[in-house]
């Protein structure tokens, strides 16, 4: 096995083009588990830990360009105001030790339907930036996932960043699991309100072959929410929103929960998060 150690993005892309079978390693919190348990024996590891370009974030024209290897710890500490939904999700990942190493690039790279970054990225309408020696392209996060652990990433490409619109209203994230830490989501839900555009974004985690949006729920809520007089959110609207989110899920029975439970829990998470978010709107925040 080779260990490739590029010192810049250009070197990393060249190395990936030359060794398409090399496995990128960022925080290593997914890759090392596979190596330690002999589930994977790649011909080479491609360490992204020295590529400074991937470890930065910055704001450009209304969105945040979040480098693939910015850790969850930094997302929580530095991006809570501009990307509140993603920061909330980051706070629930693993443990402090995991959050200190892992980031969104690895979460997308693994493309698990349960990845916690995915629902808030979907809800916010984020795009994934993919680069190779051939050039750079962006893919809407909803089109990035092709199936469980399968994504649009080509074999010579690296994920360089996610482009996330700056929050234009309250955002929420909620996750069901057996304890507060160290939990792979049984199901999860991300919500983003845009109070200027009067639109609603959603993301469903761990309840389908890929993370999913609930398009009908989004349209329903955008039309039904009392944007003009934000004082009241009636129970019927919250419930209907929850039911539409549950209907958009495509869950299966597995060791973490049954499909029926996941649907039920999603309806609860969706109406709760809508209530929390709407409180911020009606409370004038």
């Amino acid at each position: 096995m080779d260990f490739l150690r590029p010192a810049s993005l250009a070197e990393a892309l060249a190395a990936k083009a030359e060794n398409p079978a090399a496995v990128p390693i960022a925080g290593g919190t997914d890759v090392m588990v596979e190596l330690n348990f002999d589930r994977r024996r790649p011909p080479a590891l491609l360490d992204l830990g020295r590529v400074a370009e991937l470890a930065r974030w910055g704001e450009e024209n209304g969105h945040v360009r979040l480098g693939a290897t910015v850790s969850y710890t930094r997302i929580v500490e530095e991006l809570g105001t501009v990307l509140p939904g993603l920061a909330m999700a980051a706070r629930t990942v693993g443990s402090p030790q995991i959050r200190n190493r892992a980031g969104v690039g690895g979460n997308l790279g693994s493309a698990s339907p349960a990845g916690d970054a995915h629902p808030p990225l979907l809800a916010a309408g984020a795009e994934v930036e993919l680069a190779s020696v051939r050039g750079t392209r962006t893919v809407p996060v909803g089109e990035f996932f092709l199936g469980p652990k399968r994504s649009a990433l080509a074999e010579d490409e690296l994920i360089t960043a996610v482009l996330v619109p700056r929050a234009a209203g309250p955002q929420q994230f909620a996750k069901v699991g057996t304890r507060n830490a160290m939990v792979i989501a049984v199901c999860s839900f991300g919500l983003a309100l845009d109070t200027a555009a009067r639109s609603v974004g959603t993301g469903i985690g761990s309840a389908g072959p890929t993370p999913l949006r609930a398009a009908e729920a989004e349209e329903f809520a955008a039309a039904a929410l009392p944007w003009d007089e934000p004082a009241a959110l009636d129970e019927a609207t919250a419930r209907e929103f929850g039911e539409l989110v549950a209907a958009a899920a495509r869950p299966i029975d597995d060791v973490r929960g049954s499909a029926a439970y996941r649907r039920h829990a999603l309806a609860v998470l969706a109406r709760r998060t809508l209530r929390w978010a709407w409180q911020d709107v009606s409370g004038g925040r």
Partner: protein
């Protein structure tokens, strides 16, 4: 391959490292530093927690080559031959050590917390230690230890 790294203030070199092995394996099996423990090798238990460039990480999830040129601090580097670090001392005094297997990892996690935030609330202590499992103590004594260590550190700063 060869890996050069600083551990507890001293330069070390490990030879014949297999590129897929972990920093934990290098520390324990190649460099004779068995302080960090190996229990799960999947990031779940925290018994392998060490500082990597000043940040607590699971050594079992760091590839050896990722530690090249970096600085590592293990439990062996907190106190000295004849002196305990205040965090270690607090663990001993409060009875937070039973079998001791989880202790090196918890001591690093607690050390990090009390130096970042010597006035941590109980909720913050629990959150900071959420990645470290202990099968013996039931955690209450560990919380006592962290509170004691935090007050010692806060006192030293005052």
């Amino acid at each position: 391959m060869r890996v050069n790294l600083e551990i507890n203030g001293e330069q070390h070199t490990a030879d014949d490292v297999w590129p897929g092995e972990s920093l934990l394996y290098v520390l324990r099996e190649r460099l004779g530093l068995p302080g960090a423990k190996n229990a799960c090798e999947q990031g779940e238990c925290g018994s392998c927690t060490v500082y990597l460039d000043g940040t607590p990480v699971c050594a079992c999830l760091v590839a050896a080559g990722q530690a090249e040129g970096r600085s590592v601090r293990t439990v062996e580097g907190l106190g000295g031959e004849d002196r305990l670090d205040p965090v270690q001392d607090a663990f001993v005094r409060t009875g937070a050590v039973q079998c001791g297997f989880c202790t090196p990892g918890l001591v690093i996690a607690a050390h990090d917390l009390v130096h970042r935030n010597p006035h941590a609330s109980d909720a913050e202590i629990r959150e900071a230690l959420a990645g470290n499992l202990c099968r013996c103590t039931g955690y209450e004594k560990i919380l006592d230890a962290v509170r004691l260590a935090a007050s010692t550190v806060a006192g030293e700063r005052a």
